[in-house]
Symmetry: C2
Subunit: 197 residues, 2 copies
Amino acid sequence: MTDGRTRRREDTRQRLFVAAVDLIAEQGFSATTVDDIAARAGVAKGTVYYNFESKTVLFEELLRHGIGLLTAEFRAAVDGLPPREALAALVRAELDYIRRYRAFAQLLLSEMWRTNREWQQTLRLLRGEAIEVIAETVRAGVASGDLPADLDVRTASSALFGVGLVVAVDWLVFQPDRPIADVQDALLGIVRRVAQT
Amino acid sequence: MTDGRTRRREDTRQRLFVAAVDLIAEQGFSATTVDDIAARAGVAKGTVYYNFESKTVLFEELLRHGIGLLTAEFRAAVDGLPPREALAALVRAELDYIRRYRAFAQLLLSEMWRTNREWQQTLRLLRGEAIEVIAETVRAGVASGDLPADLDVRTASSALFGVGLVVAVDWLVFQPDRPIADVQDALLGIVRRVAQT
DNA sequence: GTTTTTATACTGACCAGTCAGTTTAGAAGG
DNA sequence: CCTTCTAAACTGACTGGTCAGTATAAAAAC
């Protein structure tokens, strides 16, 4: 099953993902060339096209991979918890994820609210999946009376997602000297206050 | 001073700004061509280069113009108000600005947290100027005891700026059907709760 | 008569994608 | 074991198109 061949190939794809995510986070999708990605990954240009149909497809698979991971961690974080604790756990999971996959978070923040790009549809779909996990928690909280009844589920969920992203990335980019634990405390404080019935 | 010639030229520059901001908000800086900008502005390509040194300079002047406007509105909004009202006024001013210059806000959100771009330095500086207005208000609030003493001024200010941006643009892009007044209420509610001593 | 804009053509760099050829992992045969 | 053999994985020079920026002559605006 995992013979040397597939392991080697998987390793190459992984290296290409890492290279692509770093470069695209810094420069954006269009400004990043396939030659750059290949060079950074220590691989020939042809290898990129052997492993991915096109630059766009590489990026789409990267998005799928990254957001898929985030969604899975969201799911694991809320598992079995009552609404209010689940909400705090979601914030912690998001921050933790951003800390580990800093470049990907930066990339998401930059590309999330674009329109008129080829991969827009993919990104929109994936965003929906991640936010749905948050929405389920918020919905349960509103239903059980743990959260304010007038809370708009859809809005609150996407706001929560976006706020975590922007606050964390802002901290990482403009105040990297500060420990990320502070962001977490600040965000948890905000969410706790907002969630008061 | 403002003879017909300079007025005409100013008008051309304005049209180019509008065209550029719309296209760059949709596609990003790199994916937007000078030919596109000229066509959208209804102007010959040569005119772009008659009025701006280069594509990058056009973009930098656009950033300066847009953020300068925002900063001025921040200044006007807080003028003479006590800290807590000033904070609410800032949120209102930011939202109001985003509603009016939607494309520019989208562009800012996409380009603000990038690194390694030529105009990065310019953007960083301008961002600092806008946030400084918020910071002054927060600082005054902390000094007068209107805001929690443990509030980190720098963090709170940039978080406030970023949160307004992301929540508003998210709303505009993903839930444009909803009235923007709702965003304002939601944000004011959050800020009010967080600002509680 | 000076400034600004137009229309069009051009250049040179850059870049996504291709392809003929090389290397490598590991199966098959001895 | 050690040698073919084969298909998968990888290479890098090359191509065709795109695009920032330039050039210029003539027209329009003031």
